[in-house]
């Protein structure tokens, strides 16, 4: 199946919630019609979530204390 050009153009800003209201509706209408884009959209959305939640160890309590200690003394 050929990559869909429309999908290519709107997918990223669509996922980033950066489209205007009317662009968003247009993109949704396109997704309704195009099963390839729908699959791609679901994949990109889950990849985005996966990257976002890739493990990062929490900040150490020591660092938190150091930051608080940088405050201007009263």
């Amino acid at each position: 199946m050929d990559p869909c050009e429309k999908c290519e153009e709107v997918l990223q800003p669509f996922l980033d919630r950066e489209l205007t209201e009317s662009e968003y509706r247009e993109a949704e209408a396109h997704l309704d019609d195009c099963s390839y884009c729908r699959k791609r959209y679901r994949f990109e959305a889950s990849l985005r979530r996966y990257v976002r939640h890739a493990w990062i160890e929490g900040m150490s309590p020591e660092l938190k204390a150091k930051l608080a200690a940088l405050r201007t003394p009263l």
């Binding site: 990559p3 290519e8 997918l11 990223q12 800003p13 980033d16 950066e18 699959k39 791609r40 679901r42 994949f43 959305a45 889950s46 990849l47 985005r48 996966y50 990257v51 976002r52 890739a54 493990w55 990062i56 160890e57 929490g58 900040m59 150490s60 660092l63 938190k64 150091k66 930051l67 608080a68 940088l70 405050r71 201007t72 009263l74």
Partner: protein, 200 residues
């Protein structure tokens, strides 16, 4: 008479100092509440935990020092992350050349197609990413050139809008979009190679 004036003046001064201290305390508390977010982003901008911790401390030291340059009511997160990204750039990191993105017929579909191939296409597209290891994601982000990484990390990890990212990095919004797009493409390329080593 003059004693009365100076007394009034002293009172006004004392009030101003008290208000100033109160504003500063509030500012410091609000900035400290963002520490976990700052650390997450810092951790992805630099390679090691130690570097991230240094960067976060420098960021807070500078933020507390220059609190007067923050205009109350404006976007505090963007203000703080601007300090973070500027410090990261100032640390003398090398400007890296943009990687040669391999011309790929599939373009952005590369990773998806690769992962789908390895699953025989049977798995649904929301599950297919789970074939990627967390380490692969971390490594792929770490190999992104800095210019791309800044934008990808701010938008994808920091959850900033294109507009905020543009303001933080002091670049046009169009540049944010193109770097984001290219950065994500490189990221997917890296992930595809990690997922299917024999395909490279």
């Amino acid at each position: 008479m003059s004693a009365a004036v100076s007394e009034a003046q002293q009172e006004a001064n004392a009030r101003r100092i008290a208000e100033d201290a109160r504003d500063r305390v509030r500012f410091e508390e609000e900035v400290l509440e963002l520490a976990d977010q700052v650390y997450r982003v810092a951790r992805r901008l630099v390679s090691t935990r130690e570097e991230a911790e240094d960067l976060v401390q420098e960021t807070y030291a500078r933020a507390f020092r220059s609190w007067r340059s923050y205009t109350p009511g404006t976007n505090l997160r963007a203000w703080l992350f601007r300090i973070l990204t500027n410090l990261n750039i100032d640390r003398g990191r090398r400007e890296q050349r943009a990687p040669d993105t391999q011309p790929m017929e599939e373009g952005d579909y590369y990773l998806y197609n690769r992962l789908e191939e390895t699953t025989g296409g049977a798995e649904d597209e929301e599950r297919v990413v789970e074939r990627l290891s967390q380490d692969a994601i971390v490594d792929a982000l770490a190999t992104l050139p800095h210019n791309y990484r800044d934008v990808v990390v701010l938008v994808d990890i920091g959850d900033f809008s294109y507009q905020d990212a543009a303001q933080i990095l002091d670049i046009p919004i169009g540049t944010v979009m193109s770097r984001l797009h290219r950065g994500r493409r490189v990221l997917k390329q890296e992930l595809a190679e990690a997922a299917v080593p024999e395909a490279s």
